[in-house]
Every structure is written in structure tokens, then in C-alpha cells.
């Protein structure tokens, strides 16, 4: 984005990078019909997972990111499953899935523990007691090894979708 002024730099993080193991977790995984506890390792055992951390449902970045990923539809041409995660509740996830007309399941993590495990916590100014993941994308293979990692260094920030596409093609 060209804005003519500086944006907010986020602090350094120790998030998992290419070749490292992605922390496993279990959280409710939401579709447009239901939710149930699911583990990242179980999902990844079936197909590589493109794990997309996004700001809370209803925020404009969540809308933009999911419109773009839905339109690119990596899962139609590659061996990958696209899965989201935000602090929003399962009910809000169902609304997002319907609004964006997308088939991707979303993990619900209101207490933001997964972001803590990945060291990508974004404390939100002006919302006391609320933190969420900073925008981030991890491509995780069946061994749960990170094949590609992108984590926002500014706020706001968006993934480089072409770079993500290259990573998905390489898997």
C-alpha cells in the first residue's frame, strides 16, 4: 500500500519458519454446518495445510483476505487444504463463511492461545483485554514441517499472495 506516511511496525517475533515444526493445537474447527474439535496434525496428515491467521471476523482485512483466497482457489489445482483461524466465535465463523461464500473451515480460538504458541500475538490498542493473531500464513506439510511462513511485520499488512501461490505449487 502506498499511503504517503509510515505505518505501525510490529515487534520482532520468534515464529516458526521454513524447516521448523509448526506447533500442534486442537481447537473447534467450524464449517457452514457444524463445528468440532480438530487437531492441526490430524488435518495435515491428510493433505498439506495452508493455515491462515486473520483479524477478527467482520474486520476489513478478514474480508479482503478471504475474498482473495476464495478467488485463487488453490485447493482446486493443488494438494492443499486452506484453513483459517481467528479469535471469533464459531457462530461468527459461520456468518463469515456464508458471507464470503467460501468452503474453507475456520478454527475458533477466542483466548488466542494458538497465536501465543506461534509467537504472533497482536495486542489490540483500544480494546482492553483483547488480543488476536497478527496476520500470518503458514504452509504445513504432513509431518507438520513449515514449508512456507509469512508473518505481518506492520499493522495492517497483507500476505503476498503470489508468493503463497509459489509455495503451494512447490509442495
Amino acid at each position: 500500500m502506498e499511503l504517503g506516511f509510515e505505518v505501525v511496525d510490529l515487534p520482532e517475533t520468534d515464529h516458526p519458519t521454513e524447516g521448523e515444526e509448526a506447533p500442534d493445537f486442537t481447537r473447534p474447527l467450524v464449517t457452514d454446518e457444524q463445528w468440532e474439535d480438530a487437531g492441526l496434525s490430524e488435518l495435515a496428515a491428510d493433505h498439506p495445510v495452508l493455515l491462515v491467521f486473520h483479524p477478527m471476523d467482520g474486520s476489513f482485512p478478514a474480508t479482503y483476505v478471504w475474498n482473495e483466497l476464495r478467488d485463487r482457489a488453490f485447493e482446486e489445482t493443488h494438494d492443499v487444504q486452506v484453513v483459517g483461524l481467528s479469535i471469533s466465535s464459531p457462530y461468527e465463523h459461520m456468518t463469515l463463511i456464508d458471507d464470503r461464500e467460501m468452503a474453507y473451515p475456520l478454527f475458533s480460538d477466542p483466548q488466542n492461545g494458538v497465536a501465543e504458541a506461534y509467537d504472533i500475538v497482536n495486542d489490540l490498542d483500544g480494546m482492553a483485554g483483547v488480543s488476536e493473531p497478527r496476520p500470518a500464513v503458514f504452509l504445513v506439510d504432513s509431518e507438520r514441517t513449515v514449508q512456507y511462513a509469512w508473518v505481518a511485520e506492520e499493522w495492517p499488512d497483507f500476505p503476498d499472495y503470489d508468493e503463497v501461490a509459489e509455495a503451494v505449487e512447490a509442495i
Binding site: 505505518v7 477478527m56 474480508t63 483500544g126 482492553a128 495492517p156
Partner: protein, 90 residues
């Protein structure tokens, strides 16, 4: 961080989560250590009547500064106002 839950804070900031123009104003408020109270609004422009009632327009950021009686929209204008009112010139 001069963030406050006190609605008596002199500055009320109407903002949109993750809006870079709003973050720009936050940085300026922090720079001058001004107490402010945030109100978050809907991304959908047409759903922002609360902002229109205050400022006459639905755009964010918008600020209300009770200590000067100023209500203002547009980040560049707000930053210029904050610089003039609370910046080094004083």
C-alpha cells in the same frame, strides 16, 4: 500508551480496526501523550451513522476533542490539527 477506558478522556477517536489512517492518528495521539477513548465502527461505510451523527460524515478516523470543542475527520487534517494544538509550537 495513553489509551484509557475513561469516557471523560478529552479525545474520542472513531476508528476502524486495522485502518492505517486510524493507526496514523493513534501514533500521533501517543506521540503527544494525549488521553483518548476509542470507539470502533463497522467497515461497511453505510453502517456508520454513529460517525455521521458526530462529524457530519461517515469517514474514519474522526476525532472529538472536548478540550477545544473541535470535531474533525480525515487523518491528514487531524494530524495537522494535533501538531498545531499539542505539538512543539506550544
Amino acid at each position: 500508551m495513553s489509551e484509557t477506558t475513561d469516557e471523560e478522556a478529552p479525545v474520542t477517536l472513531y476508528r476502524l480496526q486495522a485502518c492505517p489512517f486510524c493507526e496514523r492518528v493513534v501514533r500521533k495521539l501517543d506521540e503527544y501523550d494525549l488521553d483518548y477513548h476509542s470507539r470502533f465502527v463497522e467497515p461497511m461505510h453505510s453502517d456508520r451513522n454513529v460517525v455521521k451523527r458526530v462529524s457530519g460524515a461517515r469517514t474514519v478516523p474522526a476525532i472529538v476533542d472536548e478540550s477545544t470543542g473541535v470535531t474533525m475527520s480525515e487523518s491528514a487534517n487531524i494530524v495537522e490539527y494535533l501538531d498545531k494544538t499539542y505539538g512543539g509550537a506550544n
